[in-house]
């Protein structure tokens, strides 16, 4: 590519923030939560789709009255979605937001200087 259309070279403060131990820690915590969590809910959801397709007998097992395993499995997807969202909300408020605020404050201080 000959023509560079990107914006100008960025403010060096971003390099300083990027290299700081606080930022490394923030990124480590964020990725440490969301990567495994994403893998987990995708596997759990795909398990549900695959069982619906290829384990009809198991999914059709009646638990009580007309309520079968397939329905309970589907409702459990709701429970895990609500649960994971709640866990992430708590985690990010406690472990991510304080670090992010600190780095943002450093950026603002650096920008004014």
């Amino acid at each position: 590519m000959t023509e560079q259309e990107q914006a100008e070279r960025h403010d060096p403060i971003y390099d300083r923030l990027h290299a700081s131990p606080e930022f490394t820690e923030l990124r480590r915590r964020y990725r440490g939560f969301v990567f495994p969590a994403t893998a987990a809910f995708l596997v759990w959801y795909l398990l549900y789709v695959i069982l619906s397709n290829w384990a009809g007998g198991f999914m059709s097992t009646r638990i009580v009255g007309h309520i079968n395993v397939a329905l309970v499995f589907g409702l459990l997807q709701f429970v895990t979605t609500f649960g994971l969202a709640w866990m992430y909300a708590r985690f990010s408020a406690q472990k991510l937001d304080p670090l992010a605020r600190q780095l943002d404050a450093e950026y603002r201080a650096g920008g004014d200087a």
């Binding site: 923030l17 397709n53 009255g65 007309h66 992010a100 603002r108």
Partner: protein, 535 residues
């Protein structure tokens, strides 16, 4: 009381209320930031409601309950996929997008890539996804109004589609993001209350015993216990089972690539508010999809099979309104007439709110990405001109959507929306994820993944039984279907990710890699992100 009179009255009330809101919002829309993002001044709770209003479409309210009413348990996959998908948005996309972008989906790519190629690509895919999605909503509006007027007249359906199109253009042109947001908030509240009312009335008929409701649905469906088990619609052959898997993938990966959802994250002041909006949205949307289960099985239990099953001449998109009539006392009763009119008005409000969001997303992208970022890249464009172009684009996109909706009326609307999800998951999601998490990602990777995912998804639909070869196809008398699946996701999503990877590793873009440092700091900390407007 006469249903037609009551319905017409309620429809006009909905229209008058939304038009009033739009005029009111227009007086507060002055800058480009107001038009595109409502001045970024909505609270997390308000935006959560608006996201719900933007997302729970005619496909959800009419389409899913119809799919469950006809195919039983298999229709429930839509509800689950549409909800679980929000975890992708919550964990990987919402907050970082809020910090990295400004007005459109393309902004976060343009942050570190070559402007013209990525803005062009992202704008094209925004418009294509939005138009697919618009078709579904407008088809739903057509059948709804025809039902209420009690005539299966093609002319009335067409007039409705044109009327809805005109209204959505009006909301966007006049009210911008502020008007659209308030319309969506009002709609979300109406939809939740209306659905909850019908759900309670349905459950009351079965003494609040879910098992009894399911049993009656199974008996009335003529399919017996199989109606409550997976496989009725998709279990027949290996091809249809793979189709089910493909649909499941498209649903779960599509949400976080829908442009009209993504731009909603820009309407709040901070990334923390974007997170809060998604949390509210998950609560609201989850509660609603739980209700679709009762609406769908309730329709199967209480309605005559011939009313909803397309094989028996019914219209599955009308399961919810007909169910409302049934629990209100049935055809001809006052209670039935009132509830039918009420639920139809809710469905109508639902459609209006969603089409406004879609028109806004696509016209914003045409003005901000194509006009300002590509066509006039080397010239100064005033905010006024940019917003004017967005308004003109809203007209053009509205007209195209009207023209395409008229022939698309034979298709199930949940299914049409699933196609939009497949295109979004294939063309948009890969580049968003790569851009946020992979320093090496570059301009060629972004354009290859967008165009590749888009062409693969749309191309496979054109070659599928949706278009030709079956009695239910758009062109039932021809057959050029060489791709067996209805939903292209299982092939086109991996193609989008793979092309993004190959395009990236076969080229180097040092500036894009360098700018990743700033993108990453900004995305995770909010340092330097766009601020809310001061009013």
């Amino acid at each position: 009381m006469d249903t037609q009179v009551l319905t017409t009255f309620l429809f006009l009330t909905v229209v008058a209320a939304t038009v009033g809101i739009t005029f009111w919002a227009s007086r507060q829309t002055k800058t480009a930031a107001d038009f595109y993002s409502g001045g970024r001044s909505f609270s997390g709770f308000q935006n959560g409601l608006a996201i719900g209003g933007d997302y729970m479409s005619a496909a959800s309210f009419l389409g899913i309950s119809g799919a469950i009413a006809v195919y039983g348990y298999d229709g429930f996959l839509y509800s689950i996929g549409f909800l679980v998908a929000w975890l992708v948005a919550l964990l990987l996309v919402a907050e970082m997008l809020r910090n990295a972008g400004r007005y459109t989906m393309a902004d976060q790519l343009a942050f570190r890539m070559s402007q013209r190629p990525v803005r062009t690509a992202a704008s094209i895919s925004t418009v294509v996804v939005s138009i697919f999605y618009l078709l579904a909503q407008m088809v739903g509006a057509g059948s709804l109004v025809a039902l209420l007027l009690g005539v299966d007249s093609q002319a009335i359906k067409n007039i409705t589609i044109i009327g809805v199109g005109a209204l959505m253009i009006f909301y966007v042109v006049v009210g911008g993001m502020k008007g659209t947001t308030y319309v969506q908030i009002v709609k979300a509240v109406l939809l939740m209350i209306g659905s909850a009312l019908i759900v309670v009335l349905v459950l009351a008929k079965f003494n609040f015993n879910l098992s009894e409701l399911l049993g009656t649905a199974a008996d009335n469906s003529g399919k017996g216990e199989a109606f409550l088990q997976p496989g009725l619609q998709y279990g027949a052959t290996l091809t249809s089972q793979i189709d089910f898997l493909s649909l499941g993938l498209a649903l779960v990966l599509g949400t976080a690539g829908l442009p009209h959802i993504l731009i909603r994250f820009y309407t709040v002041p901070t990334a923390q508010d974007a997170r809060k909006s998604v949390l509210w949205a998950i609560g609201l949307i989850g509660a609603f999809y739980l209700m679709t289960l009762v609406l769908g099985f309730g329709a199967a239990a209480l309605l005559d099979r011939s009313a909803v099953d397309p094989l028996e001449g019914g219209n599955q998109n009308l399961a919810s309104p007909l169910l409302a009539e049934a629990v209100g006392g049935g055809d001809g009763s006052t209670g039935g007439a009132i509830l039918l009119a009420l639920i139809a008005a809710v469905a109508f409000a639902t459609i209006l709110a969603v089409v406004a969001g879609l028109t806004l997303a696509s016209s914003s992208s045409v003005a901000h990405d194509l006009y300002k970022g590509v066509i006039k890249k080397d010239q100064a464009v005033s905010e006024k001109d940019e917003v004017k172009v967005a308004r003109i684009a809203a007209f053009v996109i509205g007209a195209v959507a009207i023209a395409l909706s008229i022939p698309a009326q034979r298709l199930n609307i949940a299914f049409l929306v699933a196609l939009a999800f497949a295109v979004a998951a294939s063309a948009n999601l890969p580049s968003i994820i790569y851009n946020m998490f992979w320093r090496r990602f570059n301009t060629r990777g972004a354009t290859w993944s967008i165009y590749g995912g888009l062409v693969a998804a749309v191309g496979l639909v054109l070659l599928s039984p949706v278009m030709s070869g079956l009695p239910t196809s758009l062109f039932p008398d021809s057959d050029w279907a060489i791709f067996p699946l209805n939903n292209p996701g299982i092939i086109s999503i991996p193609i989008g990710f793979l092309l993004g990877y190959i395009g990236t590793v076969t080229s180097r873009d040092p500036a894009a890699e360098d700018r990743f440092t700033e993108l990453e700091v900004r995305a995770l900390t909010g340092a330097g992100a766009e601020q809310a407007a001061q009013h």
